[in-house]
């Protein structure tokens, strides 16, 4: 069973229905016990980093997720949920994240000069390292992005996409996974990614 962490930000309708579509059992929950008993965790999120990390902490869920991730449970951060896995973000101030993946979240406008912000739409994936959640995805496949900040990631990068320059599309550090794009909005490619995550052992 996959626990989709509900901490009061973002719309979890599509995510839970996309898991239902691929036959993966999931529950949308903000309860510590249920998250702890799940096989896997998905950390979703839209909106601003500062607000999200504050809510995650207020609900006492930041420690729960971070501890389970460190203990080896598969965790998938999606969009802002991926960014929360990092050390810190410079979105409207400086905020510390969960510190599970080394790197920081910085404004896209600094690299995507002359390009529209947010980076919104379908962009293609370029793999830089092995990642089991991309088992059924091909180099160059398109996925759906919506973001104005991106992750500068030194050690855990597994895929990039090009927007002004190569920017982080996916990260992986052992059992901890993150995708900047929205697999639940990326058609068949996205469902294949979720299916591969759900099938991890």
């Amino acid at each position: 069973m996959i626990a989709i962490v509900d901490y009061g930000v973002g719309n979890l309708f599509s995510l839970s229905h996309s898991l239902e579509k691929i036959g993966a059992e999931s529950v949308v929950t903000g309860e510590k016990k249920i998250i702890e008993s799940a096989d896997k965790i998905i950390l979703p999120g839209v909106g601003a980093f500062g607000d999200a990390i504050k809510k995650l902490r207020q609900n006492g869920l930041s420690d729960v997720v971070a501890n389970l991730a460190r203990a080896g449970k598969p965790v998938l951060g999606i969009c802002l949920g991926m960014q929360l896995l990092f050390d810190k973000s410079y979105e409207y101030g400086v905020h510390s994240g969960l510190g599970l993946i080394e790197g920081e979240i910085v404004p896209l406008k600094d690299v995507a000069r002359g390009l529209k912000i947010p980076h919104m739409g379908w962009n293609s994936l370029h793999f830089t390292d092995e990642n089991p959640i991309f088992a059924d995805v091909n180099e160059g496949d398109y996925v759906y992005f919506v973001h104005s900040y991106y992750a500068k990631c030194a050690n855990s990068l597994s895929a990039t996409t090009f927007y002004g320059e190569d920017i982080t599309a996916a990260v992986r550090k052992g059992n901890i996974f993150g995708v900047q794009f929205h697999p639940e909005k990326s058609g068949k490619t996205g469902l294949n990614i979720l299916r591969a995550f759900a099938a991890l052992r």
């Binding site: 309708f13 239902e20 579509k21 909106g47 962009n123 919506v146 909005k185 996205g190």
Partner: protein, 251 residues
Amino acid sequence: MLAKRIIPCLDVKDGRVVKGKNFVGLQDVDDPVKLASYYSDCGADELVFYDITASAEGRSLFCEVLKSVASEVFIPLTVGGGINSLDDFDRVLKCGADKVSVNSGAIANPSLIKAAAEKYGNQCVVLSMDVKKIGDNYKVFSKGGRVQTDLDAVEWAKFGENNGAGEIVLNSIDTDGVKQGFDLPMLDVICNAVNIPVIASGGAGSVSHFIELFKSVNVDAGLGASVFHYNQFTIAELKKQLKANGIEVRL
């Protein structure tokens, strides 16, 4: 590379898809869930649903339709029509919408754009504008294109961007439903005034209209309704042609 998006628009009334010509005269087209799945399968990058019902019954029917579509189709869904308050945002987001487009509701209450962007994020707020050339200027119309406002289209687009709209849909009243091509001069003027994604709407009648659009104006997406509903050409065929003309698309 970021792909140019092709977006079918489904006007929904009493649970069915309809499409008018110059906003007047409606014809029944098809079942929204069937149509949405079909479009997603043949390569639509996103879907736009406009709720054109006025009654409370129609509105709750619309929410049911939206839920069914969002449970089956996993590409971005934008919802517009009858969005006048944060409660309206809430109502459609809970039914599976990813983005909400505001039009007359924002004209009546411009602070709605900022309030929604702060609550749901910029990516969620789409400013939809019905634009018509009056003299030498482009003016914004409200109430489904029926009522001329004092708003200058360029200024209104900039206001939207500055207040947190994450995207703009530009619908030309002059070219809507006529199928003679997009309103390139209008699109060009407004695209050059903002730095957020712009979706072109109104006038698509052939593959060459889309090629012309992406070659000549810096828009991010092209929206069409009847060209797709009546199967004049499929989205897959359209995208193949775009690709052959050097335009980046998701195949």
